[in-house]
Each structure stands twice: as structure tokens, then as C-alpha cells.
């Protein structure tokens, strides 16, 4: 009986998802979904809810009658199931309800406030997910049934990065790789040495400056965790350092995207800046998706920078171990310092990149841009800013020189926020696809006419149309599926990581680490901002 009681939350969530999926399938939620602009995801909502609901119910029933064991099935599926379902439910609620509601509320408050809260605080599903995780863990706490599942967030986020590997070309990786090695190399080593120098000036213990320099220079808490045993950091030094890094990182997660937008940074520039200037690697992904959650250009750049600096971690550990070992007389093996610290998931990322590059996921024709996907998908939409530009341009009569068909294509683009067929025809795949492709052709015609100076369009309008057309040119259905999974993996991972940011760990911030950390963090963020703006101008992503 007690086992059934333990599984009750998972059973309730599973049953709830099934009921929701069936209601959504009946079409009863269409008016609400249209109000929230999520009606295009209804099919996905039905599929996800039915699948996750069935798995949750089945798993909870098995857990209710089965004695918990130590098999792989228990460790990796049955025990974490409750937590996994909880995070998935949170991710679904946030993506399909909280984020759209936030947009609607922000728009309605704009006349009073003079700005949109949604845009200023970048409250998209990623940031809302992290905040939901932080709020849950610091108010009610992580429910007991969910604790093992929450720990999966780390693994899921790594899976997300591995899948991202399928989205790079050789040219992109080579070009971004060169930039990232130079920038990250300079700023990682620069910050490490700055903190060591500050520690010397303020006469702080080597163990404290060692652990703080790694945290501030490389990848935040992850580097602190890796370096602390090597430099024999004391407990208070670790607590102060982790608290400082977490506080600084959370502030950066909100401030960076807003500054990036105010400064007019391109997705590539912002990705490079976030990947260099933000301390914690999880918050780099969050900030990149907060800057641009519609497509993944910013995330692609930010993750390359993230991966580069993670690759610097064993080097920094080696440097600090040598430096500390000299002082203390400790001797550490190469295996302990470098091999054990190597982030193995990067090998997975490189394997996916390699398989994608040799055409494993798509026939060669897809690489020539012949594959077009006009089906409904969040990722194929234009950004909110682009949508506003097009909407304003229509209202201002900027499209006066277009043919009726071209105008219809632009009007529908504004209506649907993406190149697609008619919503009413979505059941008739052939007709839907035909209309969508025809609209894409009309939009390409507009761009050609603008290039030939037959019509006058502003640069922003041309850019928005170009982006809409580019969004539906896909390399491969497999890559598209991998990308969709990847976005959900990132959402899942970041909500789970949010649940591991406790108020107690943040409020530990203090001591000399907060003084030195703030100096080093602000210096790094400011300098990298100007260097990125100056250096990165012309990297084009496919």
C-alpha cells in the first residue's frame, strides 16, 4: 500500500497527461490554443501527452508492485521516472502555457509600463524553466518522489549538446573553432591569472585563489568542483566561491541577453560573448536561448565557445595542480588531473558532427537545400522582432509594389509567423505542403525583386523575409528531428539544473571571493563584449 502511495504523484501526472492528450485530440482546446498562439503545436501536444502519460502510468504501476532493485532498469528508468515526468510536465506547461501567457500579459501591460516585460527580462521558456526550477526547490523543495529524476538533468543536457553536433558543418566548426580557441584561450588564461594576481595582492591563501581562479576563468561551478580537491580548498572557501559564482551567473543570465539586444549584437556575436563572458556553462546555454529561442544559431555559437572552454578545464587543472603542488609539496598523477577531468560527452558531440558531415543523416540533395519543410514547427518561425517588423511594414503600406500573390504570402507570413500552408488544411498534407511551397516561392520572388531594385524594401523587412525562407530550407528530416529533441533536452536539462540552485548555496557568497570574483567577472564580461564586437563580424552560419 505504501508503495502505491509513493507512486501516487506519478500516477496522477500520467493520468492527467492522458486526459489532457485526449481532450486536445478532440479539438476542444483549439480556441484556447489559438488565443495563446500555440494551436500549431496541438498535434505535438497530443503525441507527447499520450506517450509520456502512458509511460508514466506503466512505470508507476510497475514500481507499485515491484520491489526496488539495483538493476540498470531500476537505476536509469524506474527510480528516476517520477522526476523525469515532473520535469517534462513543467517543460510542457511552460512552453505551451506560461510563455505564451507571459507574452500576452507583457503586451497588455506595455501601455502602462512603456515596455514589454517579456522582452526586457527575456522571459522565454528557457529562462522561465530555470526560474520555475529555482522557485520549486527553494519553496516546497524537490518532492521526494522526484529527487532521483532531477539528477538526470545533467545527463540530459549532455545529450542535448551531443545532438547539437549534428547541426554544424566543417566550415562553421573550423571558423568558429578558431575564433573560440583564441578568445576563450585569452580570456580563460587572463581571468585565471588576474584572480591569482588579486589573491597575491589581497594576501589570500593559495587554496582559495586557486579554486576561485578556475571557477571565474573556466566554467563556473563545474571548474570549482573539479579543482577544489586538487588545490585542497577549505570548506568555507568552496562555499564562498560557489555562492559567488552562482549569484554572478544568475545575474548574467538576465543581463547579458538584454545588453546584447540593446547593443544590436548579431546571433553570432552574442553567442561568442555569452560563451566567453558568462561563468557557468549551463547559464551560457540559457542566455543563448534567451537571446534567440526561435532558431538555434546563437546556441550553436555559444556551445562551441562553451565546449572550447570546457576543453581548457584539464589544462587549467594541470596548471593549478603544478602551481599548488610546488607550494605544498603534493604530487598528483597525470591521470587524476587530466584524464579523469576530460569531458567525455564532447567525444559524442564530435561523433555526431562527423556522422552528419559524411551525410549519415541525409542524402546529398538535402545539402544542396532542395529539402523544404513547411510543416508547423516552433523552430521554423520568424523571431518576434522580425514579426513586428513585417507587421509594421504591412500597416505602413511598405509592400505597395507587390503582386497580389506576393502580398498574400507576406500577409500569411505575418498571420502564421512562418512559411506554411493554411491552418485549416493541415489535415490534407499534400495541399498544405503545396500552398506552403507556393508561398515560399512568392517570398523568394519578393527578395529577387528587391535585389533587382524593382521594389523598395527596408533592410529589416528583407532580412525578416530572408530568414523566414531560410527557416524552411532544411537539410534533413533526421537532423530536424534531432534538433527538436535537442531543444526539449535543453529545456528539460535547464529546468532540472534550476532545481539544483538552492538559496542556501547562493547566500553562501561572501568573504574575499565575492570581492575578487566581482572584479574578475565584470572585467571579463566587459572586455569580452568589446573584443567580440570588434573581432566577430562576418561569421555566417548555414
Amino acid at each position: 500500500m505504501s508503495k502505491v502511495k509513493e507512486q501516487m504523484p506519478t500516477l496522477i501526472m500520467g493520468a492527467g497527461l492522458l486526459v489532457y492528450g485526449l481532450i486536445a485530440q478532440s479539438g476542444a482546446l483549439l480556441p484556447i490554443a489559438q488565443y495563446l498562439h500555440t494551436h500549431k503545436t496541438l498535434d505535438l501536444q497530443v503525441t507527447m501527452c499520450l506517450i509520456v502519460g502512458c509511460i508514466a502510468l506503466a512505470g508507476a504501476l510497475v514500481n507499485s508492485v515491484r520491489k526496488p532493485g539495483h538493476s540498470n532498469l531500476d537505476t536509469f528508468i524506474l527510480q528516476p521516472l517520477g522526476g523525469i515526468v515532473l520535469i517534462l510536465v513543467m517543460a510542457m506547461l511552460i512552453r505551451w502555457y506560461a510563455e505564451p501567457l507571459m507574452k500576452i500579459i507583457s503586451q497588455s501591460l506595455q501601455p502602462i509600463l512603456g515596455f514589454k516585460i517579456y522582452k526586457v527580462l527575456n522571459l522565454n521558456y528557457v529562462v522561465l524553466g530555470i526560474l520555475a526550477g529555482v522557485v520549486l526547490t527553494n519553496t516546497w523543495g524537490i518532492p521526494k518522489f522526484a529527487a532521483p529524476g532531477v539528477k538526470c538533468a545533467r545527463f540530459v543536457l549532455k545529450m542535448g549538446v551531443i545532438m547539437l553536433g549534428a547541426r554544424y558543418s566543417f566550415a562553421e566548426l573550423a571558423k568558429l573553432g578558431v575564433y573560440s580557441v583564441f578568445l576563450v584561450g585569452f580570456f580563460v588564461l587572463g581571468t585565471v591569472f588576474l584572480v591569482l594576481w588579486l589573491g597575491n595582492i589581497f594576501k589570500q591563501p593559495k587554496s582559495m585563489t586557486g579554486v576561485l581562479s578556475a571557477g571565474m576563468g573556466v566554467c563556473g561551478v563545474s571548474a570549482t568542483v573539479a579543482v577544489a580537491p586538487v588545490v585542497k580548498a577549505k570548506s568555507s572557501e568552496m562555499a564562498y566561491t560557489i555562492g559567488t559564482i552562482l549569484s554572478f551567473g544568475i545575474v548574467c543570465m538576465f543581463i547579458f541577453p538584454t545588453i546584447g539586444k540593446l547593443a544590436g549584437m548579431s546571433p553570432v556575436q552574442f553567442g561568442a560573448w555569452a560563451g566567453t563572458g558568462i561563468l557557468n556553462s549551463a547559464q551560457v546555454a540559457a542566455a543563448a536561448l534567451a537571446f534567440n529561442a526561435v532558431d538555434i544559431e546563437t546556441l550553436k555559437v555559444a556551445e562551441i565557445f562553451n565546449i572550447t572552454r570546457v576543453l581548457f578545464l584539464p589544462i587549467i587543472v594541470l596548471v593549478l595542480a603544478t602551481w599548488f603542488g610546488k607550494e605544498s609539496g603534493h604530487k598528483l598523477s597525470f591521470k587524476t588531473v587530466v584524464i579523469d577531468k576530460f569531458p567525455v560527452f564532447i567525444i559524442g558531440f564530435l561523433i555526431l558532427f562527423f556522422l552528419s558531415s559524411i551525410g549519415m543523416f541525409s542524402p546529398p540533395s538535402h545539402y544542396k537545400g532542395k529539402y523544404i519543410d513547411v510543416s508547423y514547427n516552433d523552430r521554423t518561425q520568424v523571431t518576434h522582432e522580425e514579426w513586428e517588423t513585417l507587421n509594421n511594414a504591412i500597416a505602413a503600406g511598405e509592400f505597395s509594389g507587390l503582386t497580389p500573390k506576393q502580398l498574400e504570402a507576406v500577409t500569411d507570413l505575418v498571420k502564421q509567423r512562418q512559411v506554411a500552408g493554411n491552418f485549416e488544411d493541415r489535415g490534407n498534407k499534400k495541399e498544405f505542403d503545396h500552398v506552403g511551397r507556393a508561398r515560399m516561392t512568392q517570398l523568394e520572388g519578393i527578395l529577387a525583386a528587391a535585389k533587382a531594385k524593382q521594389i523598395q524594401l527596408s533592410a529589416d523587412v528583407k532580412s525578416a523575409i530572408k530568414h523566414a525562407v531560410k527557416q524552411v530550407h532544411k537539410k534533413s528530416k533526421t537532423v530536424v528531428t534531432l534538433t527538436d529533441f535537442m531543444i526539449w533536452f535543453f529545456a528539460f536539462g535547464l529546468i532540472g539544473l534550476g532545481m539544483q540552485i538552492t538559496k542556501k548555496s547562493i547566500t553562501q557568497a561572501g568573504g574575499w571571493p565575492i570581492v575578487m570574483g566581482v572584479i574578475a567577472g565584470i572585467t571579463k564580461a566587459t572586455l569580452s563584449f568589446f573584443v567580440v564586437l570588434w573581432l566577430i563580424k562576418d561569421v555566417v552560419l548555414n
Binding site: A153, R154, L157, K158, C219, G220, V221, S222, T224, V225, A226, A228, P229, K232, A233, K234, S235, S236, M238, A239, I242, I245, L246, G249, N280, S281, A282, Q283, V310, L313, D340, K341, P343, V344, G493, L497, G498, Q500, I501, T502, K504, S505, T507, Q508, G510, G511, W512, I514, V515
Partner: protein, 157 residues
């Protein structure tokens, strides 16, 4: 009146007041049994925050290192107490890990203590750049401790 005391300390200024009160009292009641309890806050397990890059092995090494450090610091604290209060050499020293309120009350119940002594709440020095004690700046809430109490609780003035 009280013969089996559980003295809870983690070395802060407030906890040292509790130490002083108990060992001064013991001078007049030599038969009094004193157990010195130091609790390692379970929140240390959460201190890896949003780290997702490291392997479980690196996490284990980190947590082992934390435990080792805390054990060293606790051993130093106990040495300080023994050095400062000669009667403390007769006391039993116990170290446990977990939720502070739960561990204190559980230990008092197990050892059949008739009084728990803790230090007073002291204002934290906010934004101090100097160390304010070892490890986590651990605190507990009365509303969590009081319902669990198996015996009277004395807060040293």
C-alpha cells in the same frame, strides 16, 4: 536536575557560549554526562549547484574532499574545546551528517539525553570579507526544531 546533556556546537561565536555554559555547569555537577554533537549539514550535497559538465566520478571526488575537509575542521574544533575546558576530555564527541534539526533530536533520543543545549542566534556579518566560521554558514529554524524535541531545549545566553 539534568544529568545527560547534549551540547550542540559547530564552533561559531554563539555555539561557544553554549560550550562555556555547559562546561562551567559541569564543574559544579561532576557526574553530569556531556555529549558534544557536531552536525555536518546535508546541504553540502547540494553545493555542486548547476554543475553538469563533470562526471559522477569527479562529483564523488569533490564530495569526498568536502567530507575530508569538514572532518579536519571538526577535529580542530574538538581539540579547541578540549584545550579550553579540561572537563571536556571526559565528554563524548559525536559527529553526524544530515538535516541539523532532525539529527539533533534523533541523537538526543538515542542517547537518552534530558537536556539539549545550543547557542543563541547571532546576527550574521553581511558582506564581511573575512571568514565567519567553518564550512557552510549553517542555521536551523525553531519551527522545524521545536516540534521534534524529545527533551527540554536550553539556549545559552
Amino acid at each position: 536536575m539534568f544529568s545527560n546533556i547534549l551540547l550542540c556546537t559547530h564552533g561559531t561565536d554563539g555555539a561557544q557560549k553554549a560550550e562555556s555554559l555547559v562546561f562551567r555547569k559541569q564543574e559544579s555537577v561532576p557526574d553530569m554526562v556531556v555529549t558534544v554533537l557536531t552536525v555536518l549539514d546535508e546541504d553540502w550535497r547540494q553545493m555542486t549547484g548547476d554543475d553538469w559538465l563533470n562526471s559522477s566520478k569527479t562529483h564523488t571526488v569533490f564530495l569526498d574532499h568536502v567530507e575530508e575537509q569538514m572532518n579536519e575542521e571538526i577535529a580542530e574544533e574538538w581539540q579547541r574545546i578540549k584545550k579550553h575546558y579540561p572537563l571536556a576530555t571526559q565528554a563524548k564527541f559525536v559527529q553526524r551528517t544530515g538535516n541539523i534539526s532532525e539529527i539533533i533530536t534523533k541523537t538526543a533520543r538515542e542517547l537518552h539525553c534530558d537536556l539539549i543545549v545550543i547557542g543563541p542566534w547571532t546576527r550574521r556579518k553581511k558582506f564581511s570579507i573575512h571568514s565567519t566560521g567553518m564550512g557552510l554558514r549553517s542555521t536551523m529554524k525553531n519551527k522545524e526544531l521545536h516540534p521534534l524535541l524529545p527533551c527540554p531545549l536550553l539556549i545559552a545566553p
